[in-house]
Amino acid sequence: MPAIRLDDLTLGYDRHPAVHHLSGEIAAGSLTAIVGPNGAGKSTLLKAIAGALTPLDGRLTLARGKRLAYLPQSAELDRSFPIHVYDLVAMGLWGKAGIFGRIGMGVRTRIEDAITAVGLTGFERRPIGNLSGGQMQRALFARLLLQDADIILLDEPFTAIDARTTADLLALVQRWHGEARTVVAVLHDIETVKRAFPETLLLAREAVAWGATNDVLTPENQLKARRMVEAFDSHAPACDRDAA
């Protein structure tokens, strides 16, 4: 039973396709990287899987009854809002506590554990506006930890973040993988992908290659992906490929 299944999926904005006729499966418990040149539709695909974008065509099916967590690339997060790191992290409990649920003692321990796990101990009472980019990303990962999701979607989680933070957060991703959660991450750094992600989807508006990372990330495939994005006419009608 795959965690995510794509059937001839076409995605886009204002009827201009950004991802074209994509079919395939992401196995439950797999750790998949989505890579590709700028404008390849990586973020668009993740957004659609998260349910924040309705497909133009085709189907996207998620395994039933699975909880999903999504960390967008540039969260619409208002960092000037007067709230503490602790409360930001605690938001991850929404799925359990909802609008009225009590945040009891047991739950508080879990919040503190999550903050410790991302190395932000001592920062609980800091306003989020005082955090550096890396610390902010750590806090958002702590929130993800509390969401306790079966499917975790990360959009460029390590962009503009120092090496030490990247290593720490990557270790969390590995931990999720070890716990048999399904993780899908959009990444830019090919070395990270080769080192840590067993599966890769190389995307250039459509799938260039999809499978075991070593088979996918060949120099030929990467060159092909770059050429495909450059040649792509984003104003083409949605189903011109079949006609051409």
Binding site: A50, L68, A75, E76, F81, P82, I83, M91, W94, P127
Partner: protein, 291 residues
């Protein structure tokens, strides 16, 4: 002597006690609303909506004179209509929401003043624009306290998603569908408080007891809970101080503007001396070792 100034007016006169209860009710419910308006960068929206209720209240006045139910219902209908219309115009046309709100409120204000002038005198117009906090009868007080009660209960109910929607709307969308409902509930509370404020402070100043205490409190704390408590405290303080000052000044200083001026003084003081980004802190040179 001090007793005569600070407590005397309220011990002596019924209308002063009523005014005090009225501004307290407005402060307690308006300040938290103001805090969220400010944090959602909707301060001007609040102002625009305050003007927008005028034609509705004016039509109520035209139909039934100074009738509380007629003017309240008219104000509520107009306030909701403009809030929704401005949102729709922003979504459906090239106009940004602030510009469309400005357009709507200018039209509303002119329309409201025209409608009141059709029937009433300059005194009536003055009453509508600036309210009369010293003439609150039982019905108005009941309205103000009901609005305050409803506001606090509703805020308590939607508090969690409301904060979440301010901090990280994308996250709220990913975990819950309550965002839209919460936003509408909040807009409803804004209109409700503006209509309540309208009866005591008039259409032009109603928003003052919302925004000024909230803006002043922001200079003292970076914690949402304390922000709300402090804003309510500032609101209550300005209500009380305004009434005392206005009473001491005799008939020269109308009470409504005095209340708003007190809130304004608190704001200016906070702006200068506030510990969170106040001017003095910014401008005074200090060693980087002591903080």
């Amino acid at each position: 002597m001090l007793h005569d100034i600070l407590i005397g007016p309220f011990a002596e006169f019924d209308f002063m006690r009523r005014a005090l209860v009225g501004v307290f009710a407005l402060a307690v419910s308006g300040a938290p609303i103001g805090v969220f308006l400010m944090l959602r960068r909707m301060s001007l929206t609040g102002d625009a909506m305050a003007h927008a209720i005028l034609p509705g209240a004016a039509i109520g006045y035209l139909v039934a004179g100074f009738s509380l139910p007629a003017m309240t219902i008219g104000g509520l209908v107009a306030g909701f209509a403009v809030a929704l219309a401005a949102g729709a115009v922003a979504r459906l046309t090239v106009m940004k929401e602030d510009a469309s709100l400005a357009a709507f409120y200018l039209i509303s204000l002119a329309l409201g003043v025209t409608i009141v002038s059709l029937r009433g005198s300059a005194v009536d117009l003055f009453h509508v624009l600036f309210g009369n906090v010293l003439a609150l009868d039982n019905d108005v007080l009941l309205l103000l306290s009901s609005v305050a009660t409803l506001t606090l209960v509703m805020l308590a109910l939607v508090y969690r998603p409301l904060v979440l929607e301010c901090v990280d709307p994308g996250f709220l969308r990913s975990v819950s569908r309550s965002g839209g409902v919460v936003h509408l509930t909040f807009l409803g509370l804004v209109v409700l408080n503006l209509v309540a404020g309208f009866h005591a402070l008039g259409t032009l100043l109603a928003v003052g007891l919302m925004m000024l205490p909230a803006a002043a409190a922001r200079f003292w704390t970076a914690d949402i809970t304390r922000l709300i408590l402090l804003a309510s405290g500032f609101g209550i303080l300005s209500g009380y101080a305004g009434l005392v000052v206005s009473y001491s000044a005799g008939s020269n200083l109308p009470a409504g503007p005095a209340v708003i001026l007190s809130a304004g003084a608190l704001y200016l003081g906070s702006l200068l001396f506030g510990t969170q980004g106040g001017l003095a802190r910014r401008l005074l040179p200090r060693s980087h070792l002591q903080r």
